[in-house]
Symmetry: C2
Subunit: 335 residues, 2 copies
């Protein structure tokens, strides 16, 4: 079985984006009070949004199941306040739940959280519990920068986050550390903010004792871990200079990297320097890069091909990456 | 000849740091007026600071010449205002000039700029001209984020920077895009801010038409280009999706990557995906990572070994990386 641990509902019917746009517009008026969504999207519209996209690509590429969550750039926590983001998370998660219910063999849900700039993330606990316990979701996406590129809320090792981590451990669900869109002109969202968010998160984990406090907490760092594998020697050396334990001991029981790296040499490096048990198959389709690589004739984000062709991976390691690790990191997955 | 294009005077006598510390302390009082430095550092102190460090490592590792600039983390533009940073840049650049004057076969100078948060970078032109024309320096370090991790000044493609770029082109000097220390707790300086600064800069150049306006402008992105080579497929794909020209056409006449990547697999990837003519040898010694890699028995930052052993590099390409490219990118180098 081939499980893609990183897919977003990027193709959701446009009424969903319209609702958020109206919210964001409304918030310009200080007296505006956000209201829950009632979108009137039909099951057929949902089917249509998936059949020609994610489901078609699953069939074409030979993958079986996608761990599916709301559109990452759509979370845009910086655009809303707490109530607006709560309603927005609920409707986005409900849309994913409907997709999962229509195609239970193809998708399993991961939720967006109603984070908001300056709001302690305790506020996310009710929606996390609802998604895990009522909607049978298996994890969450956690935005390390709800300010959208200004990084003015506390870092991941701050106790600010601890109540949410406690609940994640209690529910036995991991988080993918995934920023959203950027409102900082320095950072293109998919080209800089995503990758930098990954790299910043990795270094925050390296310098902190978070996993001493939460030994069972699990994080997936997407996009191949940002820059971390490319600079693995730097990170090993920095940890050593700081008197930290070796990285495998310090982080690799708790931190995992996905395979959203869109060329063969990148996947070859990833699978060379990171132990196979810490790599989870992922493509993020339909996502950041949608074209055909003229050098190969195949889609950039058809990452299964790169894993199939990765130098030096044995069959057992490939099975770990495609399936076993995803099951271990997402214990609630029951497919 | 082996030219290391990226070295900082990290070992400068402590009186230099003391001067800056007094400045930064003084600035807490709004009535404080910065004054130029008069440090009383002797030539012998400078010799001593280099003999057991950079010069020893050059001999041990078999490199000849280091392109030498003030300590990157020491620039800390966010800690000062315009006059404080001007005096600070002058004394730092003068210290590098004294090192170069004492060891003209071993070092050639690159300058720090007196950037300051919120200050248009035109203010850097006099110090750039002084360093190039009077001190025989051959380039500058340009901090893309003088706010130290909050990224609130304009990005590199903004016209805010154009007067400085015009002067760089007129003087025929490149800039290394190099952030400084971070005052944002999200970003460890050498583990996250440096690498993220590189990645952000690369994407800013990819999305802009800066080199149409400045066809001869040259930037070196240090630390192997941040995350760019590891995600080269992503960047090729993003450029294609945006209708931009191929990356080699769009950027590779103007953008160069150094080899400060501290393990063999990283250098193998760098030299595989980036054309040899765009790679400049560098170690950043004595810098971010100072220990011995237990996996190899050699210093993490002894990058010459990785280039020597890089898969698939021919002798001509190796010579380009070690020498020819540095000469091309720094036309004022006359060694």
């Amino acid at each position: 079985m081939i499980i893609d641990c990183h897919g977003h509902y990027t193709t959701a019917p446009s009424a969903l984006r319209d609702y958020r746009a109206a919210q964001v517009e409304g918030l310009k008026d200080p007296s505006y009070e956000p209201i829950p969504a009632d979108l009137g999207i039909s099951d057929d519209e949902i089917r249509e949004s998936l059949e020609g996209a994610q489901l078609k690509l699953q069939r074409e590429r030979g993958t079986d199941l996608t761990v599916f969550s709301p559109r990452a750039a759509g979370m845009a926590h910086q655009d809303g306040n707490e109530p607006a983001n709560r309603y927005w998370s609920e409707i986005c998660n409900d849309m994913v739940h409907r997709a999962v219910t229509l195609y239970p063999d193809n998708f399993v849900g991961v939720c967006q959280l109603p984070q908001a700039p300056g709001t302690p993330p305790d506020n996310c606990i009710p929606e996390l519990v609802r998604c895990i316990e009522e909607l049978d979701f298996i994890g969450c996406n956690l935005n390390p920068d709800p300010t959208g590129g200004y990084w003015t809320d506390p870092p991941l090792f701050d106790r600010w986050w601890y109540p949410l981590y406690e609940k994640m451990c209690e529910l036995d669900v991991p988080a993918m550390i995934h920023v959203s869109s950027s409102c900082n002109p320095h950072f293109h969202f998919t080209g800089a903010h995503y990758i930098n968010g990954d790299t910043a998160a990795f270094m925050q984990l390296l310098t902190s004792d978070l996993f001493a406090d939460f030994p069972t907490l699990k994080f997936i760092i997407p996009h191949g871990g940002g820059a971390a594998p490319f600079h693995w020697g730097r990170y090993r050396g920095l940890a050593q200079d700081m008197g930290r334990p070796p990285l495998d001991e310090l982080l690799l029981e708790n931190v995992f990297f996905d395979t959203c790296v869109y060329h063969q040499p990148g996947i070859d490096l990833l699978t060379k320097v990171i132990p196979a048990r810490n790599i989870l198959f992922a493509s993020e389709m339909v996502g950041a890069v949608r074209g055909i690589d003229p050098e190969t004739g195949f889609p950039f984000d058809d990452t299964k091909r790169y894993i199939d062709d990765a130098e030096g991976l044995g069959d057992a390691e490939r099975k770990m990456i495609f399936e076993d690790n995803v099951r271990r990191v997402f214990p609630r997955l029951r497919h």
